[in-house]
């Protein structure tokens, strides 16, 4: 059974993101990038399933400019068998990405599409769901446990009320949540070996996808400043303060 795993290059989670002075976005030049942490979890899960004999091939896929090749190299170091780079300079919105992934999934004949539940750059949390909708296949999002069994996947997901377990027919989209696993440390020798592996390059045109712009980002700004807190001495004072702000 083959799995396609999407991996996105994002500003490293340790970097404190700065808004550009003109408010057109955040500063990404000269800043360390790495694989979206939720996608690392997706990669780890795919590798574990392969180690258990539940998958036979893992294909990593990404969309973006030349620098995104690094992210695919990381995926290969994780244990992906192949890597596909959908080359596209410039921003790609979730719907376009989903169309490209859906086309690639179809072309590859993969049974599972793994993706992080969201990317930490735009926190859109849309692509996985859109892939499922475009292909009219099942989706199991926010997975905290994944079991593959023949033509089905049993996925546990964390919901407000507790844990929900879904059984979905394959092919399916599975998006991964934080507690699914703890990704392994990549070994430096594996990273080096991954640099020598071939990467297949395709374009949107090759996949029959037209780049769209359904969203317009009108402004990017830093989070609002937190106002100074107040100290209250009694519960009554607390209730009174909350009431005065219309919060209770």
């Amino acid at each position: 059974m083959k799995a396609l795993v999407s991996v996105k290059r994002v500003v490293d989670y340790n970097v404190r993101v700065q808004v550009k002075s003109d408010g057109s976005g955040v500063i990404t030049e000269g800043v360390k990038h790495s694989m979206n942490p939720f996608d690392e979890i997706a990669m780890e899960e795919a590798v574990r399933l392969k180690e258990k004999g539940k998958l036979t091939e893992i294909v990593a896929i990404t969309i973006g400019g030349a620098k995104n090749e690094e992210t695919l190299r990381s995926a290969l170091a994780f244990g992906a068998d192949r890597a596909i780079h959908i080359k596209e300079e410039g921003d790609v919105q979730p719907l376009t990405a989903a169309r490209a992934f859906a086309a690639a999934l179809k072309k590859e004949g993969a049974q599972v599409f793994f993706a992080g539940k969201q990317a930490i750059d735009d926190d859109a949390n849309q692509t996985g769901q859109m892939v499922a909708a475009l292909l009219d296949i099942a989706q199991a999002t926010f997975a905290s446990k994944v079991e593959l069994d023949g033509g089905k996947a049993v996925v546990t997901r964390e919901v407000d009320a507790g844990l929900e377990t879904l059984e979905v027919d394959l092919p399916a989209v599975i998006t991964t949540d934080l507690r699914l696993n703890e990704p392994r440390y990549l070994k430096l020798p594996d990273i080096m070996k991954a640099k020598k592996k071939p990467i297949e390059t395709v374009t949107f045109a090759d996949l029959g996808v037209e780049k769209g712009a359904a969203l317009t980002i009108s402004k990017t700004s830093a989070p609002p400043k937190r106002s100074k807190g107040i100290m209250v001495k009694t519960v009554d004072e607390l209730v009174s303060a909350l009431k005065s702000k219309g919060l209770v």
Partner: protein, 518 residues
């Protein structure tokens, strides 16, 4: 409220009002040290201006009231332990004052945005309005009591840092670091906090203004000389690095450093420190000033960290690698696009011919967690064993550090086989932290004097210093007086007599109480 029996107590209370603290429940935390026996005091003084510091010193000189100085309360040599004296805490002098770019453009923090998010946002807004220029060469002027982490929170948006990396950076203050020439785990790259300090101002112990005091930027040390040695004060630096012996730093202009665009690190097993120091030479040869950290961790230290973190601990090797010592090598690059991982691998697998399974590679944060957990792990082990701990902080010139540490480990093992030795430290600057842990059956108190004698003898025999970077304080005053050449003692005695003739400041540090009486 009855006043403690300090001669200057009434005037001090009048000067400081409610910032003269005598309530036992508020004073208590100034009596408890990070390490060492508890002290006792009747009052804590909390000046909030430099002028108040000067007035306190003048009053205390007039009334011959000694003081103990308190910064972030992270010191490890008992300098801040009061034995009846009032504690002068600099914690209220914690404001950032100004940031100056290399071209002279200056931002002055307004009083209403002098701390926390507001201070950071005000600086960022100013920098953004300028078009976010390169801040290379920028200096930042701050009050002495600003914590290291708090300063870095301000600088980070400008991609700058004050690179004092240590476990206590949330509490340690920049003024105390500069006064003590503290060395972080990245001292091999940036030097001590004294080197990071461009200029310091303050007051001598007699209350006279001190400064501008200037240090020199860090350069790679001559291997035959000490890179760090807090048993030797450089009189030319004035307040900087003088450990509060002659005066108090109240304000500092600090150098800022670019936050590297990339960092990579690896854990390397080595058989001995002599071999480790050869690796340092090789790393320097390949990466030059981009060797950002070069730390050593003994097998026992690693075992304690593993025990501390339990199942969450992951040693970053393919198998279960065991080794007498591990090195943490960290390199950096200003180029976000450089293939730093490849460069590291070429060094490890190529230059050092390490087999792949001996290369301990993990995300930087995971490796740093190991290094910065050692003290906590040692504390936990000490509590579990119940036999106390002897702590040493020693240094030698780099050229002899490998032989020294191997000899020290062997000597301690021979002399006290029933104790546990936890060794770690700043191999890149020839600094070692040695923790000797006793057990309930064999407490270190029974062998404390013998082992202390041994450590000092072995250290001195290798041309080393019994105080690398923690300072002298009162903990090492006896050793300081016993092992410092008489001409050096005369020099610091003359400085003390010139600047603090009544021994008002930290009176037992360096053994000044005895040195001045002699």
């Amino acid at each position: 409220m009855s006043l403690p029996n300090y001669p200057a107590a009434p005037q001090l209370q009048q000067l400081l009002g409610e910032r003269y603290v005598a309530a036992p429940e508020r004073v208590e935390r100034y009596e408890v040290l990070e390490r060492g026996p508890r002290g006792h005091t009747g009052a804590v003084l909390l000046p909030q201006t430099e002028a108040e510091v000067q007035q306190i010193l003048r009053l205390c000189n007039a009334q011959r009231t000694p003081l103990v100085i308190s910064g972030g309360r992270t010191g490890l040599v008992e300098a801040q332990r009061p034995l009846g004296e009032p504690v002068l805490s600099l914690e209220r002098l914690n404001r950032p004052l100004s940031l100056t770019l290399a071209d002279g453009r200056e931002f002055v923090w307004p009083a209403e945005a002098a701390s926390g998010d507001a201070a950071r946002d005000a600086l960022l807004a100013w920098w953004t309005a300028l078009g976010q220029p390169d801040a290379e060469g920028a200096t930042v002027t701050v009050q002495t009591g600003l914590a290291v982490d708090a300063l870095n929170d301000l600088l980070r948006p400008l991609n700058r840092m004050f690179p004092m990396e240590m476990g206590s950076s949330s509490a340690a203050t920049v003024g105390a670091c500069a006064a003590n020439a503290s060395a972080g785990s990245n001292a091999v790259c940036y030097g001590t906090s004294a080197h990071m300090t461009d200029t310091a101002w303050g007051f001598w112990g007699n209350g006279e203004p001190a400064g501008p005091c200037r240090s020199t930027p860090w350069t790679a040390p001559d291997p035959q000389r000490f890179a760090i040695n807090s048993a030797q004060i450089d009189p030319a630096w004035g307040l900087i690095g003088s450990q509060g012996a002659f005066g108090i730093i109240t304000r500092l202009r600090l150098r800022t450093y670019a936050i590297p665009a990339q960092r990579e690190a690896a854990l390397i097993p080595v058989a001995d420190m002599v071999g480790a120091m050869r690796i340092l030479d090789a790393a320097r040869g390949r990466f030059g000033a981009d060797v950002e950290e070069f730390e050593f961790i003994s097998r026992s230290a690693m075992a304690l960290v593993r025990a501390l973190h339990g199942e969450a601990f992951r040693l970053p090797f393919a198998g279960d690698v065991d080794s007498p010592l591990f090195l943490l090598l960290q390199i950096k690059s200003a180029d976000a696009d450089a293939d730093l991982a490849a460069a590291l691998y070429e060094f490890l697998a190529g230059d050092l011919a390490l087999p792949d399974e001996q290369i301990g590679y993990a995300p930087l944060a995971a490796l740093k967690k190991i290094r910065h957990s050692i003290t906590e792990a040692s504390n936990a082990r000490m509590r579990a064993l119940g036999g106390g701990r002897l702590s040493f902080d020693t240094a030698t010139p780099l050229a002899g550090f490998g032989e020294y540490l191997d000899a020290m480990r062997a000597e301690l093992q021979r002399a006290a086989p029933d104790t546990e030795l936890v060794a770690f430290g700043h191999a890149g600057v020839g600094g070692a932290h040695l923790h000797v842990l006793g057990s309930a059956d064999r407490p270190v108190s029974a062998v404390g004097k013998t082992l202390t004698r041994l450590v000092i003898d072995v250290t001195l025999a290798h041309g080393g210093s019994f105080s690398a970077e923690h300072g002298i304080g009162s903990k090492w005053a006896d050793e300081y007086l016993a092992h410092t050449p008489s001409e050096q003692l005369q020099t610091i005695k003359a400085l003390k007599q010139a600047h603090d003739p009544h021994n008002i400041l930290n009176p037992r540090s360096f053994g000044f109480d005895r040195l001045l009486a002699a």
